[in-house]
Point group: C2
Chain length 321, copies 2
């Protein structure tokens, strides 16, 4: 079976997703700052998904995936294994539809994350903190409940949901010269490139990735999916590797992956907090850092950045305090 | 001369101020949060002056005061003594009009504040960190330059400018049941009560003040202006005492001053950072804490809060990190 037998999402799919989830997800603001623009030498437009429900863009994809379930499947609920924003997003999306969300979490996940998922009504099953036990536990719970597995990014409907952030961004600030989004598993970036490159082909779309977790950069360069092996980065939302689906989308459309140092991530994060008075998580600072480090590429341009989220442990900030 | 010989600002004055400064000041967003509302048992509407230029509402009053200068006075510039947000605001407002701003600052002011004022084009004269030397230095510079003194709050035009935040708030979220603003010298609260009580007489308007700097509370209770003597509070924007002008306005209109503990200020500040992903300064957390501590008063109500600013030293946060 040739690769193109897998249907990739299109801008039309994203527009359809938008018509389904509009009103259920927050139409987040686009924010700008004169002083940040002066520092970076371009005009930055931040699509603030840190203000999205559950504090991250993940709620878009999860909401869309839940709405796409047929009545029979919906009844049995949804399941995922995750300790991050996707778990919280899926739990809330399911509870909004009145169906159960089964979340498999490693027992050593932080109390904050456990509380968040439970607070949104997620039914937690703890597992050992290994990939093997995580998957086995997931299969066991899935078997028992008949719940539908919603992968955090290797999922057509999830990608379409994530793409709606770019749709709203362009509704508000078109024209742009370039758009950046962080890349971990590639769900957000896949939705972003698909919508932007199909509807606004002249706009450049870049992924941004920590140098210390540059598997997407290497995967696209070498045309093969590299696993992300024990990456050491503060951008804890970007630890995962591309999937077959997101790899195919990015290969087709992405103008490139820009990588940044840990130092630049912290510097960019602190600049946005200080100058714009908004809390963005390290993963969201990655594309800002990419703009900061590539001045010539963006000089004088109108640049959109998808701010992925704002879930930061305020008791563990990456600067001295 | 009877007290009422001093003309107090009116809602019409504030509307006129608004027509002058609209477009020069940022129309800041009003933000809400389901999870904060659930925690507080009411519907909170935050008027986000932390997103105002220079990071504080002070830019409204300073801009208005500068615009009201006649051509002759404008030529000689403006002067103030301050180490806080008013100094930065006046410096920027003056530079927008192309006139000099002379700022007298104690030589031990923080480097951050010195840089901010200089960055906005303020011409700094350093003085000893005593009230006496501050005033003497100010008079000396004023004498030499002919600049007009713009008091941070005991100033008709400044108060009218600060009142425009409430005007915008009501434009966006009317009806409200109550509005709160922090009170230090009383400029913001004076503008707030004047606009709200004259245009929406049924809305309750409260000031909020740290227990450790409760001079406004005591002044209104005892009908005399108490000086604020060495207050020890984290809310560093609320250290000053009422002036004759702000005292008269508050006496006429304010429904009361609610006081809060230092502990509650930090708790409220952290809650807003965590839940709403916005950076508010301790002074802005004071009215949020007042809502938190007075549940019965606000239960089920629609409550507006003027978030005064977002200028926080990120290297010195009031919680462990």
């Amino acid at each position: 079976m040739p690769t193109n037998a897998v249907r990739l999402p299109t801008a039309s799919d994203i527009e359809e997703a938008y018509s389904l989830i509009v009103g259920m997800v927050k139409a987040t603001p686009v924010m700008t700052s004169r002083s940040v623009n002066a520092l970076l030498g371009c005009s930055l437009f931040l699509k603030c998904e840190n203000f999205q429900r559950v504090g991250a863009f993940k709620f878009r994809g999860a909401t869309h995936a839940v709405l796409r379930l047929n009545d029979h499947d919906a009844k049995n609920g949804v399941i995922t294994h995750s300790s991050g924003n996707h778990a919280a997003a899926l739990a809330l999306a399911a509870s909004q539809k009145g169906i159960p969300a089964f979340i498999v979490m490693p027992e050593n996940a932080s109390e904050i994350k456990k509380k968040a998922v439970a607070g949104y009504g997620g039914i937690i099953t703890f597992c050992q903190p290994t990939q093997k036990d995580r998957e086995e536990t997931m299969l066991m719970v899935k078997e028992k409940t008949g719940a539908t597995f919603i992968h955090p990014y290797d999922n057509f409907n999830v990608i379409c949901g994530q793409g709606t952030a770019s749709l709203e961004l362009m509704q508000e600030v078109n024209p742009l010269d370039a758009v950046l989004a962080p890349v971990g598993g590639g769900g957000l970036l896949s939705g972003t490139v698909t919508y932007i490159k199909e509807r606004f082909p002249d706009v450049k779309v870049y992924g941004a990735e920590p140098q210390n977790a540059d598997d997407a950069f290497r995967s696209l360069r070498d045309n093969t999916i590299y696993p992300s092996i024990k990456p050491q980065t503060i951008a804890d939302g970007l630890l995962t590797s591309l999937s077959p689906l997101t790899f195919s989308v990015l290969k087709k459309y992405c103008n490139g992956i820009l990588t940044v140092s840990e130092f630049a991530i912290v510097e960019a994060m602190q600049m946005i907090w200080e100058r714009m008075k908004i809390i963005i998580e390290p993963s969201s600072a990655v594309p800002v850092a990419a703009v900061m480090l590539n001045r010539e590429l963006f000089a004088g341009k109108r640049v959109g950045v998808i701010i992925s989220g704002g879930n930061v442990d305020l008791n563990r900030l990456p600067w001295q305090c």
